[in-house]
Amino acid sequence: MSTTIKDPETIEPANMDLPDPEVVKKELLARYPAKVARKRSNQIIINQKDEDGTFPEIGANVRTVPGIITQRGCSYAGCKGVILGPTRDIVNITHGPIGCGFYSWLTRRNQTRPASDADDNFMTYCFSTDMQDKDIVFGGEKKLKAAIQEAYDIFKPKAISIFSTCPVGLIGDDVHAVAREMKEKLGINVFGFSCEGYRGVSQSAGHHIANNGIFSHVVGKNDTIKDAEFKINLLGEYNIGGDGFEIDRILEDCGISIVSTFSGNSTYDQFANAHTADLNTVMCHRSINYVADMMEIKYGIPWIKINFIGAASTAKSLRKIAQYFDDPKLSRKVEEVIQREMPEIEKVREEVKKRCEGKVAMLFVGGSRAHHYQELFKEIGMKTVSAGYEFAHRDDYEGRDIIPNIKIDADSRNIEELSVEKDAEKYNPRKTEAEMEALKAGGFEFKDYKGMMSDMAKGTLIIDDVSQYETELLLKLYKPDIYCAGIKEKYAIQKSGIPMKQLHSYDSGGPYAGFRGAVNFYHEIDRMVNSKIWDYLKAPWQISPELSAKYGWE
């Protein structure tokens, strides 16, 4: 019996009659003023691998032109909503008017599982200084201090963090000074983030600000070494719909211990302890690759890119982790787990594939999901004809090799880059140079990410920061069988008669990661692309008007 999925690359979908990407691109640009069209033209790329193995340069992480309805969020959303949102025991105070806090109040469906009822869980709370006119005029620092004191008095949390919204930076409130003062006063960790919504190009800037903050203020604060043999950090996994729980289950069964997850189902202590892990594994390259880099420089922890979306990818990632630790016992255990999980997956996959093979998907989401989820579609024989990220950078499309060529613009300059050095006491290379070289020589790839383009077919259309307007045109021109994006796009797409799967919040589904997640996803896509609901769009008298005549009374 086959227990490994065929390499997805070899699954060839049925021949499809797809529109010429050049023509599509032209149409997408037709309605824009010349200047906007030029800019968008750099962000709409027809995929093509050049002879030297490189891909065309894509315009990414560039500001959305005003008036184009983008799906992107802001720096605050990335910082408070995405990165710190899933951490349960830090009191997150939004410093600003009420909207920002309200709109980021548990809307991302990241789940958490406190060890017991006695453990802190502040995730159901939305704390805000709810700034009023007078705070804007006279400054909000006093109110912020009082709010921190109050949060401390009520909850006695391990840490309190402050998130700045747009007006805070403008009126000159110094949240960092307030944080330092209150940290001193209360004796707990208090830190602030300058994540005003106007900073940076998208939520990606906020991820960076958040991760820098956690790295500077929390990581390295707790040196307890976990009593476990194979210790890793899982970076860039946010436990949407319980993805993290499924990954935890698999890793645990393999005997691999997670020191910290950034930041699904996470706690303050996990972050503080993260520097004691022996390997960093990176799920979402976009939101966190720089943390992996910094941890390697400062603490000597190597990092690898892994992907737990897709059954084959999950198996591959587990094997890669085992290979790193180079322990026969671990490798055996990993193989056992894979052999145990695969038969059930194969059964469902074969069944679902019969109904999905040859169908067409489009994915416009995230900073890694639009790439990762193509794996799951391939596994059931579906082809991705167009994809793009909402907030990713060039390296997430073209691969890490191009990083030195990325132009630094005003927006990226505004996001602080930390300069990190070896920690005098805590730096500890996990592998000797010789060991690292030996692994590399055997084809093992450290800190490597080849990006989305390398996994997509020639002639597919890659679109960065797709707009609502462009989405509508894409639907018209390609008529895909399924479109994956977020809630903002969802209903317009479904009104056009095309099933739409949310890959930010998973609609109400999930988990989709790991082995059980793959099975959930196969079933979900099967349900959506083979749904009979669309048959009801037209009433019988609209389909064949002659029918109604036959039933006439006369």
């Binding site: 959303a77 709109y103 939305c126 704390f127 200084t129 609502q468 509508e472 639907l475």
Partner: protein
């Protein structure tokens, strides 16, 4: 009895920010598109929130401030945004609402728009000032309605040829089904209605045969331009009426001031008393008798009140949400013998207490705790001491109901943990009937769920 402790920070707010209300209003105008002047995150957040309630496309554009824009002003961004929106969406109106960012730096939006000059067949540009640090989404809503009316009805001769048979109705923030019900009532009366805003079709439409840049539906702009000629205006909301009395300008008061159009203010017609008042006013304004259909609805409702009174009498409720929603809902509950022991809102108009004093019968007022500027955590603390039997309001009360182990009847906005939030009918005899049935059934369900035996015959 003081039921609420006061805190510095807001924990789990019972209000949203000002521009959200304005964005919703522009979705209730035919061919209009909202544009938020500020960071793109505001548009994205408000879109996702409105969408999670309506489960419909809700486009909101942004002028996408950058760090430089925040320093040097947003004029250029705003102009570019208007130009781009016009090319892609060909809107008839662009509703420009400011955010805390553009308000804090003091962008002079009217001047920027003035500077763009006039262009043939360009969209109407309507500006509404909505700093998020001032008021709630309800203020944004009312301000946007006023801004649109002011823009479309510039001052002119006060005595013009009146279309006496036309009524302007400013319903406030009601559900799609409520708006449809209002339209139905006027249709049955045979009276022309100009309802502003009306997002009932645009935010609850069928599948598309072809792509719509802007969904169909909404109050036609040409109708809004004719509001200055109507026979009367009606504004729903006791709080709103209080604000008019205080001298604040609303759409209705502007039309009164500019064109001498009589303004009738009243509460949202929830419950028999409030609906009676609504129909009486309609009769008076239009000189048309209440259609038989509504008399029959009223008859059935009173009959149901009698039959179901045993289930609801002396029950205790927590009511929360927008102030006008709370005032109207509390009035209805009191009418059926339920004591609204806690009436709370995140809003802070200063009129909630006064409104409830007007609406609630004397004999229960001593048992009713009214709080404005309240968040859900304070509400939970206060409600915990008041032994409520259930809570009624939007989805955000879920945690409170879960912690207090009382059922939650969902009504108002936002409802994102149930389907059909926008289809709830709250108003008129028919809507009251549906609220009544839902409340009774929720209480019965709770009795069954918490019974050790499990009786099926209640």
């Amino acid at each position: 009895m003081n039921t609420a402790k006061s805190y510095t920070a807001t924990r789990n707010a019972c209000k949203m920010c000002t521009p959200l209300g304005a964005a919703l209003v522009f979705h209730g105008i035919e061919g209009a598109i909202p544009l938020l002047h500020g960071s793109q995150g505001c548009s994205t957040y408000m879109r996702r929130y409105l969408i999670s309630h309506f489960k419909e496309p809700v486009d909101i554009a942004s002028s996408n401030f950058s760090e430089e824009t925040a320093i040097f002003g947003g004029g250029a961004n705003l102009k570019l945004a208007i130009e781009n929106l016009t090319r892609q969406y060909s809107p008839e109106m662009i509703g420009i609402a400011t955010t805390c960012l553009s308000e804090t730096i003091g962008d002079d939006v009217p001047m920027i728009l003035e500077g763009m000059g006039r262009m043939e067949d360009r969209a109407e540009l309507v500006h509404v000032s909505t700093p998020s640090y001032s008021g709630t989404h309800m203020d944004g809503f009312h301000h946007a309605v006023r801004a649109v009316v002011e823009h479309c009805n510039p001052e002119g001769p006060r005595t013009r040829h009146r279309a006496r048979k036309t009524v302007n109705l400013f319903p406030g923030m009601l559900s799609n089904e409520d708006l449809r019900h209002l339209k139905e009532i006027f249709e049955d009366l045979g009276v022309r209605l100009i309802l502003l805003p009306d997002y009932s079709e645009r935010l609850e439409g069928p599948s598309w045969v072809e792509y719509h840049a802007i969904q169909k539906g909404g109050t036609p702009i040409k109708d809004i331009r004719e509001m200055g000629l109507s026979g009367a205006s009606i504004e729903l909301g006791t709080i709103l009426a209080g604000m008019v009395e205080k001298g604040e300008k609303t759409a209705g008061s502007v039309l009164k001031e500019r064109f001498d159009i009589p303004l009738v203010s009243m509460g949202i017609p929830m419950g028999v008393k409030a609906t009676d008042r609504f129909f009486s006013a309609l009769e008076e304004i239009t000189a048309k008798p209440v259609p038989e259909k509504y008399k029959r609805q009223r008859g059935r409702l009173i009959d149901a009140y009698v039959d179901g009174n045993k289930y609801v009498s002396k029950k205790r409720a927590v009511v929360y949400g927008e102030e006008d929603f709370v005032a109207a809902m509390a009035g209805f509950l009191a009418e059926i013998g339920i004591i609204p022991v806690l009436c709370a809102s995140g809003g802070r108009s200063g009129f909630l207490k006064q409104a409830l004093n007007q609406i609630l019968p004397q004999n229960i007022q001593g048992q009713v705790h009214v709080h404005h500027g309240m968040d859900f955590t304070q509400m939970e603390e206060a409600a915990g001491k008041l032994s409520p039997d259930f809570a009624i309001g939007n989805s955000k009360g879920y945690t409170l109901s879960r912690n207090l182990k009382i059922p939650l009847v969902r009504a108002g906005f936002p409802i994102h943990d149930r389907v059909g939030g926008a289809r709830i009918l709250h108003i008129g005899y028919k809507g009251t009937q549906q609220l009544f049935d839902t409340i009774v059934n929720t209480l019965l369900q709770n009795r069954q769920d918490t019974s050790a035996v499990g009786y099926a015959y209640m």
